[in-house]
């Protein structure tokens, strides 16, 4: 597939590497030099793009966050820490952090609980589990935009599926995305629906990789299923859990499509997460500096979190 793109870079170095070797020391040095060169060649395009489109924006953001600029005016105006001052003193910021925190926390908790529960279920030898696992995974690959639009319709209190479901219980559907109280839960439901199968399959793999001998011993001890799960499966799955937590946290922090389509951060600020805030300030409100300040907050939040998680992950992995 990638043959054509690769051949041009591969040609000359392939020849170079077939030159016969002389003395062992000489050849070791040659080999090393060849390796250095190839390493640089192989990794350079990838790294260059990462630096230009990953690291530079991060650094540039720091500079930008000290300015006031609508992207249209001739030059950014240097305003020092003003953006941060406004950001940290505004009541909206507190609310936004709160919304972001709840959003991330709840989606991650659900990712873990629902993921492990479904994985346990899929791990049982019951006919049809394979179909269900395929089904459950499929929303994960659907376009976020499409999923958001479908659920927007489902959540419509007058014409959507929600009215039908609530009417089955003789109740009236909440207004979901139109309600300060229910908008965030609506987004959470969609996020969980979309990633359920993915998390479950990660857990399933984790479960299937567990050694079977411990279970045999436990059965002989007469341990019940719940105890076996609690004292054997769950602790052994900790590295998996750590991974699920990291991935879900990153995904939740960055969630954008759904929020953009379903609530645009509203009603009020009820679903304004950091991610939406940055986009809104930067591209809609014309406050690039303010967006950059928000971006920096997000960057450090994520960095701190991941550092902590990675350490747990590492510890788990090296056991």
């Amino acid at each position: 597939m990638s043959g054509a793109a690769v051949a041009s870079t591969g040609g000359p170095s392939a020849q170079a590497s077939t030159v016969p070797t002389r003395s062992p020391r000489h050849s070791r040095r040659r080999r090393r030099r060849r390796h250095y060169l190839l390493f640089a060649l192989f990794t350079f395009p990838n790294l260059l793009i990462m630096v230009v489109f990953g690291y530079w924006p991060t650094i540039g953001n720091v500079i930008l966050s000290l300015t006031e600029w609508d992207m249209v005016a001739p030059t950014p105006i240097f305003v020092g820490l003003q953006n941060y001052k406004i950001l940290f003193t505004s009541p909206d910021f507190g609310k936004m952090l709160e919304v972001t925190f709840i959003w991330v926390l709840v989606t991650v908790v659900f990712a873990v609980i629902a993921g492990v529960a479904l994985a346990y279920l899929l791990n049982l030898k019951i006919w049809g589990r394979r179909i269900v696992s395929t089904l459950a995974f499929s929303p994960y690959v659907m376009p976020g935009v499409a999923v958001a639009v479908v659920w927007l319709f489902i959540f419509d209190p007058h014409y959507g599926l929600t009215r039908y479901v609530f009417s089955l219980f003789g109740a009236q559907s909440p207004a979901w995305v139109g309600s300060s109280t229910w908008a965030l839960p609506a987004l959470i439901i969609v996020a969980v629906w979309k990633s359920l199968g993915f998390n479950a399959l990660i857990y399933l793999a984790g479960m299937q990789a567990l050694p079977s001998d411990v279970y045999e011993a436990a059965t002989i001890d007469g341990a019940g299923k719940w105890r076996m799960f609690r004292s054997i499966t769950w602790p052994l799955l900790l590295p998996t859990t750590s991974f699920v937590i990291i991935i879900s946290t990153i995904n939740s922090f960055q969630a954008f499509d759904m929020i953009a389509i379903m609530t645009a951060g509203g009603p009020g600020n009820a679903t304004t997460t950091l991610s939406w805030f940055i986009y809104y300030q930067g591209f809609q409100a014309g406050k690039a500096g303010f967006a950059a300040a928000g971006g920096l907050v997000m960057f450090f939040a994520l960095l701190a979190f991941t550092a902590i998680q990675l350490r747990t992950f590492d510890r788990g992995a090296h056991q």
Binding site: L124, L201, E216, S275
Partner: protein, 303 residues
Amino acid sequence: MTATLTQDATGRQEPPRRRKRSHRAHGDPTQPGVVGTVVGAILLVVTAGVILVPVLWLISAAFKPNSEIYEWPIEWIPSKATMQNFITAWESAPLARFFFNSLILVIVGTTVKTSLAVFSAFAFVFLEFPGKKYVFLLVLGVLMVPNNVTLVINYITISDLGLVNTYAGILLPGIASAFGTFLLRQHFMGLEREVFEAAEVDGAGAVRQLFSFAIPLARPAVVTVALLGAIDEWNSYIWPLIVVNSDQMRTVSLGLQFLKVTDGLQQWGPIMAGTLMIMIPVLLLFLFAQKSITTGFVGAATK
């Protein structure tokens, strides 16, 4: 049947020890009792329902005449299935062009992205370089940079490069896949090093090692990286939203927006029809390549 599943989820290079399933018969937590089977089966059906109902709702609405969409009580089966919603959706914007654009982006983007990831992953595993561990941290570090943080400045960079509203402009910022590099590196590390050492002694250079051994041996992982890249590209929304400003360059995700307009009046029928249209290609891809996709994702998590 069950054996395949186990293999799928845990990757192909499974040690033979675990194939002997007879050993675990007693303490096997995967063997439910009668009650367990019944409860489990019910829960499986419930899960399937939770996933399927929204999709059925989408399909039902896509084929309903507009008047029936607003009917109460709800009719699941349209009184007569109509293609009108699809026609309306198709006419509301140059959707054919949008599909074409998305397809081009998927093909080119996936090819380049996968190549970049394969080359650097190989380098990280099989080539010597002083401090390459730290260089690899550079790759991992990018995973920590939240997408939205980069938007404004990447837009400025792309516009300085004169690439706004071009395929290159859409693809470039996302073309280096840290995740793909990471995943492939994990897989390459799992390969038997002796094979490569022997090959090197035989005079096979790095490029030959890459094409003759590394890629074939880690083929499932490479395919996975490609598939994930393809799915990402098809689904991507926020970046094209920012960087594209012509019908010539718009992608399918952006096309959906056109159906969502009008002054407070939502045309749910055409919207659902359009949604279904952009979902189908990616779902088909998933159904055909399901194993590779799940294996890859899961492989990264467990290795």
